[in-house]
Symmetry: C2
Subunit: 547 residues, 2 copies
């Protein structure tokens, strides 16, 4: 690891924009958005408070207490994380960052941390946007140890018969795709954070990926998981399916670091697509586009891409001119001819009033650039949209610098309630923007579609009041989240819960389930050390056994 | 409910075979199997021990303590259940059978049962084959109350936009399909037990259904679940997908009555297929058929049927002559042309050495007989196999009567280990049969296939030693189950765990998960009243809180 990650925001220190380019970018963004100000420089990394935990000598080479490393692990990548990092607000970093290189070292770190009375935060790529790795752990801990899993980044085995691979939890998207590509295989888990996110983080947060239909989240790719818990190793069997009671993996999927530290998983992979057929279809209204997307998935077609952009969102990303909603459609296959599928999908679009471009068919290069694939190589001809998708994490850092509040939030809802929820959430966000920002834009796209519903994804851009960004963010987040819950949606379709979504998550989940989850955690983590504050709170001490 | 269920075995009292027909059937079976003896008559229902619980006056119309009702709810439908019922062995029936007609009545029953210190066994169709409803609950209970949910059998709402229906837990296959058919819809959950099984039972046991690929178990159809637990109502939101932490429904799916009584669910439905394309493909070996099935699912095709029969199993069911393994293939769709898909699948079969029949395409009758659909109307031209599938539950009763030991067991395994597991399991079962039955047959089919593996399903037929059937069954079950576990498989792909699979389930599941599940149960069912003995044992009383 010769390259050093920037202590705040996205990417590596050696790939940041030079000042002149940043100025030009800022000017272009101001021009398009009609708000945003001068480029502000990020605050230098301040000196942090001394760590509250002392690293024992035998683990010293695994534990880092440098200011840079602690600061870099203090936040995820949400707008409010970026703003705080940008302003040098590092008042609550982890005390120690551990970098185990294998499961044995992880076990030693965990044992030490538990013995020291610390809270333990498992850390993948740090790309989360919901406060999942922020050391707000509550009282009762001697300090916080963040365990960075990125040194466990190997593809350990590839099963070319069953099409599955055993991969360590810390492997990032590019690292694991590189190893799989040698065998002509791919995981095709391509979130926007592809470059830095890790497999373990994806599993712990039930991250969404490449496919817009059928296999939308990492859940669908997991064959078995292995995690280290304070109660021992939690490892499931490699199985294509099982009906043996409650699925063990289902408790680790979405556990967000509260039940154990995921160390590796067997995941299902596919042969690299040899054929991609894609097109874009314009619709006179978003509603007409929804009808088409619904018709496509309800017919049984499973396009790899089926993303619907509002006219304004299409304009904002350069994918359209703002006069029509756009449906980005693509089918891909390693073996099958996909011409029939795209033809059937286009016919359904025509029946819903869509105007399709001529579908394009092509053979992706065998050694294709994964950054481009991640961005939706299959989205062509919507190249501008794709470009925006890749650039987004870098762009967001620049938006902070020019004083633009940028936030995205997403949910899922059944089809018959989609129009109502989209309207009420957008209106709630706009109302909040008017009050706290004096204006701004809210646009929407569907990122994933299902036979029974869809996942709308909202993008908010507004003039930030420098120094008051967190209050502004908070107001918008609260208004939008309440509207999502009131509209029957989920607080997150694929961004996880973390600490930021807790109030609404608590409203969403069934009460007896919350009690069951808390008890399950206490059983495997009796010291309540793992990522406290996420998903479930430590229950008040009981005076006696309830049985 | 004017018709009365037979107190033992399958179906209703008014549809049992007359003696002469049973004799003829017995002769035909003896002829085919070359074992089996004279037709024995079932023992009459004996007088049962008096119930240990007194029904309170206010609930009297909901509670049944008649011998017939208690006997009928004493067992499921496994071979060992049938044998005991046939012999009049009703030494351990539930004390009271409750028949609530709505959730309010269920709550009253549950409250009374908990207050009375009873164990509570939720009961759907009683079609399980793993001892899941048998009142072996251990010590510490004043008696057993079995709650029969079949009076809650309504389809409460149908959402024709999102294609989902809200259905009560006690609705059987025919009842719910009838209601859906009026809207041109279908759940297409067609296990062999279709006629009697209930939706709630399917959810509690993660039952397998119609589709051989992609959406293989009820899990894939569940949009939200509602259950009554001792800690209150556990109800999830209707969502097409969510990434908000651990999925609440995933804890109820497969909970087998241990966490709550499922009262209703929103399930995804589909439009009734307008087009079915099907064929059978012969293969020189089972292995070649496996290669073809694997190629089909790994290509991305998702046939509704893709079941592979060993040559002997094809002969046994009359689907083939015993010279070739047979792959039953079908694609179906309400909207799309399925000709392309079956053509692609057949091409893959040809490449693996298969000899396909000419595919047949047809339009199913809109008002088709669901028993036939359940049996795989789409399987034509393998009509004999389909007929055998429907008849099987009735046939099994007759097998008991003529002294044939009949058992099925199933698992799932990744492709690269399939051949080894199939061989070792079959050999273990044959060895046990030689020892305890002096012979018999073991045949295998694949019932479900996945990109990364398949679900092999074994059928055992052997000469029973009258009066010693349970010991024989036990020896075969133990040998086969140990081989399944040793071969890396799961103790069940879709038959659930119940009480019969417990020893091997305990070996299969990760230890920390077992601890988590036990704690989760204790949180929602502190009296440990719900279906004790299934999945998890009551932990020894702890002396103090572990936190």
């Amino acid at each position: 690891m010769s390259r050093r990650r920037k202590h705040w925001g996205w990417g590596y220190e050696d790939e940041q924009l030079p000042a002149a380019q940043l100025e030009a970018l800022a000017a272009a963004m101001r021009d398009q958005l009609r708000f945003g100000g001068e480029v502000e420089a990020p605050a230098p990394l301040p000196a942090l408070a001394a760590p509250r935990l002392a690293a024992p000598a035998r683990l010293r080479e695994l534990l880092d207490t440098s200011d840079h490393d602690r600061a870099r692990h203090a936040y995820g990548c949400s707008y409010r994380d970026l703003v705080r990092g940008f302003r040098g607000d590092y008042g609550n970093p982890p005390d120690v960052v551990a970098h185990p290189r294998d499961e044995r070292e992880l076990e030693a770190v965990l044992e030490w941390a538990l013995g020291a009375g610390a809270a333990v935060i498992p850390y993948g790529g740090g790309t989360g946007v919901v406060g999942g790795v922020e050391p707000i752990v509550g009282d009762g801990y001697e300090g916080v140890v963040t365990i960075d899993m990125q040194a466990l980044d190997q593809v350990l085995e590839v099963d070319e018969t069953a099409l599955a691979a055993r991969i360590q939890a810390g492997a990032s998207g590019p690292v694991l795709e590189r190893a799989l590509r040698e065998r002509g295989l791919t995981l095709r888990h391509f979130p926007q954070s592809f470059e830095l996110q890790t497999l373990g983080g994806a599993i712990a947060t039930r991250a969404g990926g490449h496919y817009a239909t059928a296999r939308t989240r990492i859940d669908d790719f997991v064959e078995s998981v292995r995690a280290l818990t304070p109660a021992g190793v939690w490892a499931s069997r490699r199985l294509p399916g099982s009906g043996a009671g409650v699925a063990p993996d289902s408790l680790l999927l979405g556990s967000e670091g509260t039940l154990g530290v995921i160390t590796e998983a067997w995941v299902r992979v596919v042969r690299r697509p040899a054929q991609i057929a894609s097109t874009t279809v314009s619709f006179p209204s978003f509603e007409a586009g929804c009808e088409a997307a619904r018709a496509i998935v309800q017919s049984g077609l499973t396009p790899a891409n089926c993303r619907l952009l509002e006219a304004d969102e299409a304009r904002l990303t350069g994918a359209g001119d703002g006069t029509a909603a756009l449906l980005l459609l693509a089918f891909e296959s390693a073996e099958l001819d996909v011409g029939g599928s795209i033809g059937q999908a286009v016919a359904l679009c025509l029946a819903c009033g869509g105007t399709p471009r001529e579908p394009r068919r092509r053979t992706p290069a065998a050694g294709g650039d994964d950054r481009k694939v991640a961005a939706g190589e299959n989205l062509d001809p919507a190249a501008s949209w794709r470009e925006a998708f890749v650039r987004a994490p870098y762009l967001r850092d620049a938006l902070v610098a020019i004083g633009v509040l940028a936030e995205t939030f997403e949910t899922a809802i059944t089809w018959e309630r989609l129009a109502g929820l989209r309207a009420s959430v957008a209106e709630a966000a706009r109302q909040a923007l008017r009050e706290v920002c004096g204006g701004g834009t809210v646009t929407c796209r569907l990122t994933h579609v299902y036979p029974d519903g869809a996942a709308p994804y909202f993008t908010v851009l507004a003039p930030a009041r420098r120094g008051a960004e967190l209050e502004q963010w908070d107001a918008v987040k609260r208004a939008a989240s309440a509207a999502v819950l009131d509209g029957g949606g989920t607080i997150t379709h694929h961004h996880a819960v973390g600490r930021d979504h807790r109030p609404w998550y608590d409203r969403e989940r069934p009460e007896p389930f919350a009690a069951a989850l808390a008890a399950a955690k206490a059983a495997v983590d009796p010291a309540w050390a793992l990522n406290p504050g996420v998903l479930i709170d430590r229950p008040p001490r009981r005076s006696r056994d309830s049985s």
